[in-house]
């Protein structure tokens, strides 16, 4: 016989729960749903924030773009790199070729692969594209196997899809087409010797604002410099707005939870005579509380765990297109969101606390009488109208 079955108080708690099977199932289902709503509401903003932070961590500290009357224009590679190199503290200066082009009826991001990107590709076991080839993110082909990709931009190009970006990089390459620098420049209409922008790193990100001012001075043409922290601020603002919307369901979920706890307290107060009888038969207030806690944990804990698991599945398994669509504007197969271990821990601890604590408080509250009152007081008190 298992220890569980041998422990009389535990067995009694389970037996008592099974006396009210309908109440038991409704309570467990309601708690599961409340946990699901709360977890999704807290997980999605966290996951989006973590995902955005992860994407940003791969981006350069500063991006220098040429502008003419406020419109982005290509930069001459050699002069631009030389100007940037003249600024002390500017590191890893590299020209980039990127922009947008049409593939069928959708817009995709086109990126020219330089030596640095080629190195990253090789690290992931993907061969960099050759002339006439494309390496694409999974969102470009919606997961279908298409041998040739047609791109329309300054010129029309038909490219052989050499390979797909690994799933692990989907979040940063979902709708991206990687080409050779020359193919990218030609489809984007960038003249030879020019690039889309310059990427610049700094030793420490706190130096970025000061370095941006120096860079602005160093170029002979008007440039617009965007720092990673500026981008982070923009994303943070979008995140806060979206997070606010997503947290709206918390209010009705918490209301339902508190109503349920209130009903549970009221039902238990109606069972005061039972507590009185148990005390008369030798149970202590602590036994009655322990039994009540066991009953609560037997119902609430599995429901919370299942609800959290369901929420995790909803948010992180395929099918979360709505969030990616809201956040990134993706209309096709969404890449998985990323959640750091600390964020996951924080969210699930919070949800556990939000759902469990009111029940535990209700247990304590409804058992106070069992600690202080005499048995006959409880038995006779329950008989009074």
């Amino acid at each position: 016989m298992s220890r569980f079955v041998r422990h009389p108080l535990m067995a009694w708690a389970v037996r008592d729960l099974l006396q009210h099977p309908v109440e038991l199932v409704i309570t467990a289902m309601a708690i599961l749903l409340i946990t699901l709503v709360l977890s999704v509401s807290l997980l999605v903003p966290r996951a989006l924030s973590d995902t955005a932070r992860r994407i940003l961590s791969k981006s350069p500290d500063l991006v220098v773009r040429g502008v003419n009357s406020g419109i982005p224009v290509p930069l001459p590679v050699r002069e631009a790199v030389a100007s940037a190199k003249a600024v002390p503290g500017a590191l890893n200066i590299r020209a980039r070729w990127w922009g947008i082009a049409k593939s069928g009826d959708r817009w995709v991001t086109v990126v020219g692969v330089d030596d640095r990107l080629a190195g990253i590709f090789r690290q992931w076991g993907v061969a960099p594209p050759l002339a006439g080839e494309a390496v694409t993110g999974r969102g470009v082909t919606s997961g279908e196997k298409i041998p040739v990709l047609h791109l329309s931009g300054a010129v029309d190009l038909s490219l052989t899809i050499a390979s797909l970006i690994p799933k692990q990089l989907d979040m940063i390459s979902h709708d991206t087409v990687y080409l050779t620098k020359d193919d990218a420049a030609s489809v984007l209409g960038i003249a030879s010797g020019y690039c889309s922008d310059l990427a610049v790193d700094v030793f420490h990100e706190n130096e970025a604002p000061a370095l941006a001012a120096d860079l602005r001075q160093a170029f002979p043409w008007p440039v617009h410099i965007v720092g990673r922290m500026d981008t982070a601020g923009t994303i943070q603002r979008r995140y806060s707005r979206l997070g606010g919307y997503l947290m709206l369901p918390i209010i009705p979920a918490m209301t339902v939870l508190l109503i349920m706890v209130g009903i549970a307290v009221s039902i238990r107060r109606g069972r005061r005579a039972e507590a009185g009888l148990l005390k008369a038969l030798g149970w202590t207030g602590a036994d009655i509380l322990q039994c009540q806690l066991l009953k609560t944990l037997t119902v609430v804990l599995p429901a919370v765990i299942l609800g959290s698991g369901a929420a995790y599945t909803v948010v992180f398994q395929p099918g979360m297109n709505w969030a990616a669509g809201l956040w990134f504007g993706w209309e096709y197969t969404a890449p998985p969101l990323y959640l750091s271990a600390s964020s996951a821990g924080l969210v699930f601890t919070s949800v556990n606390a939000i759902v469990l604590l009111p029940w535990l408080a209700a247990d304590l509250f409804s058992s106070i009488n069992a600690f202080t009152a005499d048995p006959m007081e409880l038995i006779e008190g329950a008989m009074k109208p």
Binding site: V5, P8, L9, Q19, G282, D374
Partner: protein, 241 residues
């Protein structure tokens, strides 16, 4: 320490707002020694049940003190009294069974909290069910059995913990003569083992059994000792004398 109950100037009155104070018990002084099998009689409403509940530590007297084994249990805080109550068995007049539970589950109730494993609790409950002819009813809900069977279930629940103090309020009201004899044997058996057994009853058959070592009458809130009848005490059902 030998079980013994001493009441010292015990009073009990009910205070209800807007109504005159209802005095139920007045200045009760009595000693129930270890091995006592005492019977209390009295009119309906004379306070017998209230007195038993005070002896069993189920309510506090409004005046005076109750000592058990020399300790002032009536003045103890709830936590200590809860633990002491594990030495008490009680049969309520209205039985207070949990009718949604089976006979066996009702009987097991006092043992659930006593750090005893379930198989042992089951063994004990089967034993006491056998003594009270309840074996066949183990799985029946108490809401579906007869009044006499319910009463025996309540007695079995009081006996399962082998109490040092056993208090029974009208334990034989719905029993036939054979069952009365069986119940008396069990009550006397507890007293023989040194327990204090106090029974409140109107049942003439209990009086006629001449089994009780002490008889009391409760009237107008006062407890008085009755003179022993010829042949009282010392006699046990089944004795040949």
């Amino acid at each position: 320490m030998n079980p013994e109950i001493v009441c010292e100037n015990v009073d009990f009155s009910r205070h209800r707002s807007g109504k005159p104070v209802n005095t139920v018990l007045t200045d009760i002084n009595v000693r129930f020694k270890s091995g006592t099998l005492a019977m209390i009689t009295g009119e309906t409403g004379s306070g017998k049940s209230t007195f038993l509940s005070i002896l069993a530590g189920l309510r506090r007297p409004t005046g005076g003190r109750v000592f058990a084994g020399g300790k002032p249990v009536s003045q103890w805080i709830s936590r200590h009294k809860d633990l002491w109550r594990r030495r008490v068995g009680i049969v309520f007049q209205d039985l207070n069974l949990m009718d949604h539970l089976s006979v066996m589950e009702n009987i097991m109730l006092p043992m659930i909290c006593r750090r005893m494993e379930l198989p042992e609790i089951r063994r004990r409950s089967r034993l006491v069910m056998g003594e009270l002819d309840l074996d066949e009813l183990a799985g029946e809900r108490t809401g579906t059995i007869s009044g006499g069977q319910r009463q025996r279930t309540a007695l079995a629940r009081a006996l399962i913990g082998e109490p040092d103090y056993l208090f029974a309020d009208e334990p034989s009201a719905f029993q036939d003569d054979k069952s009365v004899s069986r119940i008396l044997t069990l009550l006397a058996g507890r007293a023989d083992k040194g327990a204090v057994v106090v029974v409140c009853s109107h049942d003439q058959r209990l009086r006629d059994a001449r089994l009780f070592t002490a008889n009391y009458r409760l009237a107008i809130g006062r407890l008085t000792m009755m003179p022993p009848m010829a042949g009282d005490a010392g006699h046990r059902p089944g004795d040949k004398s």
